[in-house]
Symmetry: C2
Subunit: 202 residues, 2 copies
């Protein structure tokens, strides 16, 4: 009885390589590969995999949103998140979206197949060190608006530009930025964006 897999990663080379790696295992079989989060649900319905391996960083629909969509459309399919960045917030949001496992891309290749089998068996797979970080970092202290403003500030936009984009007064934007800077313990907006991003709060 082989475990059927769905792979989602925007980098074709990595996707193909992971496929080769997993197909080496006699009890695993990759039945579908997609390059964007938007294609996950359709491919899953078409190929009926047992486990879906999703990357978080994908253009358009990210892996976490894709997880939520997939669990809504086909609750029986287990989801294993595979990501480059072990951001605490990613782990938290992935689990809330219904993922069964969370693997960072710098874990040894040999462990991936085991992770897949465990997830298929109904177990949770989470890197213990990352779970600790997630507990320490906690949930995002930023309010919805503060997050939006920081997101808009990420590309170096001025207060005026952010205000125009979000239809706010410049003073309001400055207030939200100031609050975000205070909550992140940063000294300016750039640092605030960096730490918030590093924690997976954006």
């Amino acid at each position: 009885m082989t475990i059927k897999l769905l792979l989602a990663d925007d980098q074709a080379l990595v996707r193909g390589a992971l496929s080769a790696l997993l197909n080496l295992e006699s009890d695993l079989e990759v039945v579908a590969e997609v390059g964007s989060g938007a294609d996950v649900v359709a491919a899953a319905l078409a190929h009926q995999p047992d486990v879906a391996l999703l990357d978080v960083e994908m253009p358009g629909l990210d892996g976490i949103s894709a997880t939520a969509d997939l669990k809504a459309a086909a609750p029986g399919i287990k989801v294993l998140i595979v990501t480059t960045f072990g951001r605490p917030g990613y782990l938290r949001r992935a689990l809330q979206a219904g993922a069964s496992g969370f693997v960072v891309k710098d874990t040894p290749a040999a462990q991936l197949a085991d992770a897949v089998r465990r997830v298929h068996a109904g177990l949770r797979v989470v890197d213990p060190a990352l779970a600790m970080d997630s507990l320490v970092a906690g949930e995002s202290p930023l309010t919805a608006r503060e997050t939006e403003v920081l997101l808009a500030a990420r590309d170096g936009s001025s207060v005026a530009a952010i205000a125009a984009k979000l239809f706010l007064s410049e003073g309001t934007v400055r207030n939200h930025l100031s609050a975000a800077i205070g909550k992140t313990g940063a000294a300016n907006r750039t640092e605030a964006v960096l730490t918030a991003d590093g924690n997976g709060w954006l």
Copy 2:
């Protein structure tokens, strides 16, 4: 006659997966895998590969510096750069360092083995679209100091902090930043860092 390969990528999962992918080809054999740029030369001397596949983004010694070191220690080994980001400046610097090929991670997996064979045969392998970008973007217009200052500004440091780190006057730092902002067509230091980084100038 098999082609012997050396793999360098800081993400163990990707490294292992690429290894699996390439070992599927009957004429290719991965003889060494390392996780940092600093280990490339030693592993190359120990295992005598024909071609080295190096990632650009690695902690410590990056793939481009590793290329230069490797070509100095063992000029006969061909280098194929495999990277996530197709920054024009990366391509230029990789070729100057002695790389024979440059492949972005979102090219189809099937083409990687061919790229390796071509590089081994003494040909150059470069994505045509990326080569165009490299021509258009041209060399970095930033002077050495401007680059240093931008680099120091990347983490959101204030002018005072940058001045202290580089042992410069605050006024000089402001002048360099202003020049960098002007040359990159940005409106502030954050935008300047973003565009310079996007072009591989940092």
